[in-house]
């Protein structure tokens, strides 16, 4: 790959980058990692129970998840990068659940049960409670694909409005700002239906 290609990759959507990565373009793969690793790391930090995080290398898990997803993404044709990010989030969430299940099968000492029980929760559950988290997840799942991508991009992944706009095909950052705002109201309304 030449330098011109590298510069051009910055402007490509994630979906296009995935296609190139599947064709063997290493730089496209690197770009995907650079684009998603930080946000997914941050996201996973909130999701992994503290004790499981001790046993699982978060970065390894995320990288492995990304590679697997990129390889099998033919079956998924997202409308935009925001939907792709939501897809990645779901895959990673499944992976975390698997890791947690595996970790709980490992042997442990008797006297740790009390402390272990206390650390079963993720930071999110600790902060807002398991019930509230399930309510949120349920409502999020019932939102439209666009609204879900908006909420995830801004609230969970912490993207700036310009990035949200790019990820969700909004013309401007202000348009993305308004869209997120309305999506949040719809999310809160949906949470009330739980």
């Amino acid at each position: 790959m030449g330098l011109d290609d590298t510069a051009g990759l910055e402007r490509l959507s994630s979906v296009e980058l995935v296609c190139r990565a599947r064709d063997g373009n290493r730089q496209a793969l690197d770009h995907l990692f650079a684009r998603y690793l930080p946000v997914l790391r941050r996201w996973a930090t909130g999701r992994l129970p503290f004790w499981a995080r001790d046993l699982v290398d978060t970065d390894d898990m995320i990288q492995d998840t990304l590679v697997r997803t990129f390889r099998s993404v033919e079956a998924f044709v997202p409308r935009h990068d925001g939907a792709f990010a939501a897809y990645l989030r779901q895959v990673l969430d499944n992976r975390i659940r698997d890791e947690v299940r595996n970790a709980t099968r490992r042997p442990r000492g008797d006297e740790i049960s009390e402390s272990r029980a206390g650390s079963e929760v993720s930071p999110l559950e600790a902060a807002i409670g398991g019930e509230a988290l399930r309510r949120y997840e349920g409502a999020l799942g019932r939102l439209s694909e666009d609204d879900r991508a908006l909420v995830l991009s801004r609230i969970e992944l912490g993207l700036g409005f310009a990035e949200v706009a790019r990820a969700t095909n909004k013309p401007t950052a202000d348009a993305a700002r308004m869209a997120v705002r309305r999506a949040l109201v719809r999310l809160a309304t949906e949470m009330d239906h739980e």
Partner: protein, 595 residues
Amino acid sequence: MSDRREDPESLAGRVAEGLPVDWEEAIRSAPDERERRIVRHLRLVESLGRVYRGAESKSEAREDTLDATTTLNPVAGLSDPLPPIGTWAQLELREKLGEGGFGEVYRAWDRRLDREVALKLLKTEESKNHSVASQVVEEGRLLAKLHHPNVVAVFGAEVHDGRVGLWMEFIRGRSLEQVLSEHGPFGAREATLIGIDLCRALAAVHGGGVVHRDVKGQNVMREEGGRIVLMDFGAGLDVSGREHTAQMHISGTPLYMAQETIRGEPATRQSDIYSLGVLLYRLVTGSHPVEATSWSELRDKHSRGETRLLRDVRSDLPEAFVKVVERATAWNPSERFGTAGQMEQALTRALGVEASTPTIAKPARPRPVVVFGVAGLLAAAIVVGLFVVPALTRRTGSATGTYAVEAALYRNGADSGARERLEPGALLALQDHLTLEFKASVPLHVYVIDEDDNGHSYALFPLPGLEPRNPLAPGTTHVLPGSRDGAEQSWLVDSPGGREHLLVLASPTRLIEFEAEMNNLARAGQSAVPIPETTIARLRGIGGLADSPAASDGKPAERLFEMAKKIAARSEVVKGIWVRTIELENPRPKLRGRP
């Protein structure tokens, strides 16, 4: 906050922007129950986003912040008996603890995370000073990334209602200055131990890119249970920003300041080290190396190098301790310790314990079970299991939080490469090679000792000349006793001892006194017993140790076991020390003839 009612879309906009919301007011002013619920849902989403944003800044070093109190601290879930006297952001202010030129300090309750915190609120006028406000917030964020048991855990810093606030772990205990005024000067040993903890704290602070700027007795807490905690970074900022330019009466802090800082140069690691030296000086004397009652007098004395030498004030103190303090308080920054770690090493030496590779202090006599290394390989093993340990006090929250330990003892087939995990009570045999696999989620100081029914005892880890050394790096499975020149070593059972009692102890902090006791033990690899040629061939890696005589009367280990028990009993609540004993059968008749 404004009294103007905000509808859900407006609130959603603030959530989207990451702006603060007065949720109590928003809920109160909602026109009906349904909208109140919607507002609460938005609040929940805002909390969720905050956790993700918090994870961004804390993921590297402060992952225990939520865990320490919300999951391990039973007290945290209880409602505070005192009614709130006000609110700031998500904090209910319970009690004013102090007030100074910079603002106030409160004991507060974090409603979102259900934990007690200490909140430092800058005064409104200070908060309006954009430079100071942004500095405090920025430094608070840096500190929130720090993770060290001797540094107060900072949970966050932000501007709310026009005031800058920094909230942190609430420590129950007394400042060193209070202890000093109540009980008089400290002894050299106690001051040294405190100094070692503070050196570690400073090393962590400096490693995080922060200079404390205000190390002094009032800013170091001795928590109930004994933990030494460095506090009060915000005050340091305040002081460094103003006091050294003012002509004012000296209130205490300037007496800890290095001459270059007093002259207006920026605070540095070396100026922190100077302040720590002054603190140690003060702990053992009740005074400061440079005493003055005004800035001009202080500057003059510094410029003339008028320092009261510690040896002149306390001629009874150990020379090694005096030298450490004098070097730390040297006038020229370049003559001070280059790093806090170097100062810690010097203090440790002053205590009579070598830093990472304790020396063998006593000659040994023949021992029934000796363990030492074999090149090449194979793990053998026993095991101890998987443990997760609550690390620090329930009463105050934790700077260390939960950590996980996996430890397993193995028997390695010397020639076959076979590897067997040993359970407690397993039968040992002569020539068994043992290794301990140890993995933890945080850096830990690990100690392994062995005692048999004959009263003979041995230090099995750490061993001089072997890698790894303490503290063991987290996230890696270490095979102990370690390796030398790349060749893995193992402990060798070279004689029957009845029953072997292995003690494995791990601590987030170094156990200086325990190490000192360990120095009285014979060490694995030392033996006056002739070693079979075949074994020697496999032991080339630590052959030098085999020549050293070793002696043990059994008493040191008994002390160590007792000490470990006490530490363990205490640690469940205070120190987060992990202790396990493993008993293995090593009877005389059954050992013979085992391959």
